[in-house]
């Protein structure tokens, strides 16, 4: 039995934030969960799948976030409690349906969990999902610690049913991927029966059709939707998760939410400022409860807002403060706008300490300057940068190697439009700086489709796009259809590594299994591309020669869209993880080292972590602990010094 399914009320477990969210949903009797993988949100659907049978849950990895939200909404319309999970970027993808869903409202409790990544630790941007709650007018909750990640999630389902609309719960990396003590509540023992009641009149919330809006009838639907938000604000006045700790009349009031609550508490304690600073930690960050805000603003005239990414909380509090100025008097605000809190990047206790220390003029030191200097100097000498690169034996390194070399050989200044996956490293030297555009999922092929139509304006560079197998289904298919239909002569390279690898091998529509491990029909990428009308070739990227030849054939073919599927499982995939195809070694007699015509092609350019430059001997060698035995390096060494022997 999973520890997530422990039925003992009051038991304490060490849970990751994402697991705490799952436990909250289980305690709320959630039945259907859907999502698309993305750091830091991916563990949620995976955890549901582990308890799915025991708790009669349906969980799926959907094709993309918009589909996930639709799948989840169907459960709500049928009266079930349901959760939809995605990273911040996914909310952008789902946002079209999100707007309409917020308008139609929901039935069974529906919670959208959006996990933001302040500082873009595992993302290509530092997006902000809280804005969406305001944009589509649904309530927003933010847990302020790991216990609340569970408790607030559970409450979110009740709130959703009371308001009859979707409720957003926003987490951040430091909440989703942090772990801490969580005290369990009861697991419900309820039956679930799905029934979509749709035989009632229009706008009947219980039995009517679920419709976003009748054309030209904004007042009929938008008005009641806004009344739900006003009701949420009234309910939030009494929300027990909005807490104040500090003196009755502090010199400075911190208003904060989410992980920033924990940084603020730590900062106040380390400065010994508990008697000067109060902390209002808000769990209900949209809409803000005005009376609660007024009561707290009235405590002092100095307020510091501590939050990450955009000044969402700051702006909302300022609006209320302006409206209340006649009652509470003028307030001086500190935060992102005033420059006390950085406008980009994630926060930590030290950033809050610095802000407080300067506002309140409290000196703070942690170590002596001489220690700090010595430790930094040592790090400068002895802690070389790790850099960003592909794993040893990664098929993407081999694929990008072939694409890069083939484009160089072709000589027409061809370039690659990249996409989202581990292959974003194609923008860096570790991917031979092959990728020249990089935006959102599926955009590589859309952009390439446009570039490849610029021939009439004199552009004759070969145009290549990249995408992974999961990304193909997620968002690249419409772009390929466009390219085929518009006769756009791009070459789309699909790096098919057999799963959503970057986030941990979640299945996608091309996989033979679903998240529950059940056998499923695998949708065939090759057949789709052919059916769309593209010219398709398939190669194993570990076969460098064949791959480069196929690539040349395709880029020279200038009639319409072409697809090259490079198929090789991820080096960390379950099927490759513990198997070595080759024993690889370097013949020191043959290795020319720096005298090689290539000037250390293997270590300097190819850069697989399994090959190390031995400076003293002046030769390369294989690090047998790192090498996974893909054997690709044996084919790139011009001197033939790298030997591979097939493992029996």
């Amino acid at each position: 039995m999973s520890y997530l399914n422990d039925n003992q009320e009051g038991s304490v477990h060490l849970l990751m934030g994402n697991e705490a969210i799952v436990r909250g949903a289980l305690e709320a009797g959630m039945r259907v969960a859907a999502g698309y993988p993305g750091t830091p949100s991916s563990e949620i659907i995976e955890a549901f799948s582990k308890v799915a049978r025991e708790r009669n849950i349906y969980a799926e990895w959907s094709t993309n976030e918009k589909v996930a939200l639709e799948v989840s909404a169907a459960a709500s319309f049928a009266g079930l409690r349901t959760m939809c999970v995605m990273k911040q970027n996914g909310v952008n993808v789902a946002s079209d349906f999100l707007l309409h869903l917020a308008s139609s409202g929901t039935r069974g409790g529906m919670v959208l969990v959006a996990c933001d990544d302040p500082g873009a630790l595992s993302s290509v941007n530092e997006g902000e999902s809280r804005i969406f709650a305001r944009l589509v007018e649904v309530p927003l909750l933010e847990p302020g610690d790991l216990q609340e990640a569970k408790d607030i999630t559970k409450w979110a389902f009740e709130l959703s049913e009371e308001l009859r609309n979707l409720v957003m719960v926003r987490s951040v990396t430091r909440m989703s991927h942090a772990s801490g003590n969580v005290t369990y509540g009861k697991l419900p023992n309820t039956e679930a029966l799905a029934d979509f009641k749709c035989d009632g009149p229009m706008f009947d919330p219980d039995r009517g059709p679920m419709i976003s809006m009748i054309v030209g009838a904004a007042d009929l639907q938008h008005g009641p939707q806004q009344e739900k938000i006003r009701k949420a604000a009234r309910l939030f006045e009494e929300c027990p998760f909005n807490t104040y700790r500090g003196p009755e009349k502090p010199e400075l009031l911190i208003i904060t939410s989410s992980a920033c609550n924990l940084y603020s508490r730590e900062a106040v304690r380390l400065l010994g400022a508990e008697d000067r600073v109060g902390i209002l930690k808000l769990a209900t960050t949209w809409p803000l409860p005005p009376k609660l805000i007024m009561k707290n603003l009235a405590r002092t005239d100095k307020v510091l807002i501590v939050e990450e990414v955009l000044p969402v909380l700051e702006e909302q509090v300022k609006i209320l403060a302006a409206e209340m100025a006649a009652e509470i008097g003028p307030t001086r605000f500190f935060g992102k706008n005033a420059g006390n809190i950085p406008s980009v990047g994630e926060l930590n206790p030290d950033i809050v300490i610095e802000a407080l220390s300067s506002i309140l003029d409290i000196p703070y030191t942690n170590v002596s300057d001489s220690f700090d200097d010595a430790a930094r100097e040592l790090a400068r000498k002895a802690a070389p940068n790790r850099g960003l690169t592909f794993c040893p034996g990664c098929p993407h390194r081999a694929s990008l190697w072939s694409i890069h070399n083939a484009l160089e050989l072709d000589g027409r200044k061809g370039f690659v439009c990249g996409d989202i996956g581990c292959y974003v490293f194609g923008t860096l030297p570790s991917g031979f700086s092959t990728v020249k555009t990089l935006h959102s999922m599926g955009s590589g092929t859309g952009i390439a489709s446009g570039f490849a139509k610029l021939g009439q304006f004199g552009m004759d560079q070969p145009v290549i796009s990249l995408c992974g197998d999961s990304t193909f289904f997620h968002a690249a298919m419409p772009a390929l259809a466009n390219a085929v239909h518009q006769k756009s002569p791009l070459t789309m390279v699909i790096l098919d590594n057999n799963g959503t690898a970057m986030t941990g091998f979640q299945p996608h529509p091309g996989s033979p299994n679903n998240v529950l491990g059940e056998e499923m029909p695998a949708v065939d990428i090759e057949a789709i591309c052919r059916a769309m009308g593209a010219l398709v070739e398939i190669q194993d990227p570990f076969d460098i020669e064949e791959t480069q030849e196929a690539f040349h054939r395709l880029i020279e073919h200038d009639e319409g869209a072409k697809v090259l599927i490079l198929r090789q499982a991820c080096a960390l995939s379950p099927e490759r993880r513990h198997t070595k195809n080759f024993e690889v070694e370097i013949d020191e007699e043959i290795c020319l080292g720096e005298n090689c015509g290539c000037n250390r092609l293997c270590t300097r350019i190819f850069g697989c972590p399994g090959i190390v430059w031995d400076k003293e001997k002046g030769v390369s060698r294989i690090d047998e602990l790192i090498c996974v035995g893909c054997g690709v390096c044996a084919d790139i060494c011009p001197a033939g010094a790298i030997k591979k022997k097939e493992v029996a």
Partner: protein, 206 residues
Amino acid sequence: MKTSALQRDPYNVIITGVGGQGNVMASRILGSMLVSKGYFVTIGETFGPSQRGGSVMSHLRISGESSWSPQIPAHRADLIASLEPAEAVRVMAQYGNPDVHILCNTRPIYPVPVIRGEEEYPSVEDIKISLKSLASHTFFIDATEEAQKLGNTIFANIILLGAIYGTHLLPLEREDFVEAISQRFRQDQIEINLTAFDRGCELLAR
């Protein structure tokens, strides 16, 4: 409350290493061991976008009072346990202080710029000398070599856990480890992990 058994409250541990060394697993097991003893544990994980080869760091806050920030404030670590020497140095610069205890595996994993020949990786002996000059207590173990003797380098993380236990800096008992791994590993993996744990503890006693 359990505060008395901790040298400080919160007591701050950083487990660091390189992606693929089992850093996160080690921090979760250590955290579970302490939660079962009644402590509040908060863990923050920092890892970059690459699954292999990047710096990885887990911050553990152990307290008898409450949860804490999942990020330890600068220079406030009490124990730095590292699966890789250069990572110990990196963490020392940001979170170290003169009173910190350092427990370090001596097997380097070379960063890509070093592999490329663009940057230097100093000798492990030099790293040892420098860390000794900065920290009050240092322990160096060859966890990777010991793990290889057990058949797989991945056991280095469990050997490191055994060594953490062996420092007696934390209120841990061997039984806590047995309980924690029983919840996480298959039955046939328990014995080898227990052997690794004991080996780590012995390495420190030497």
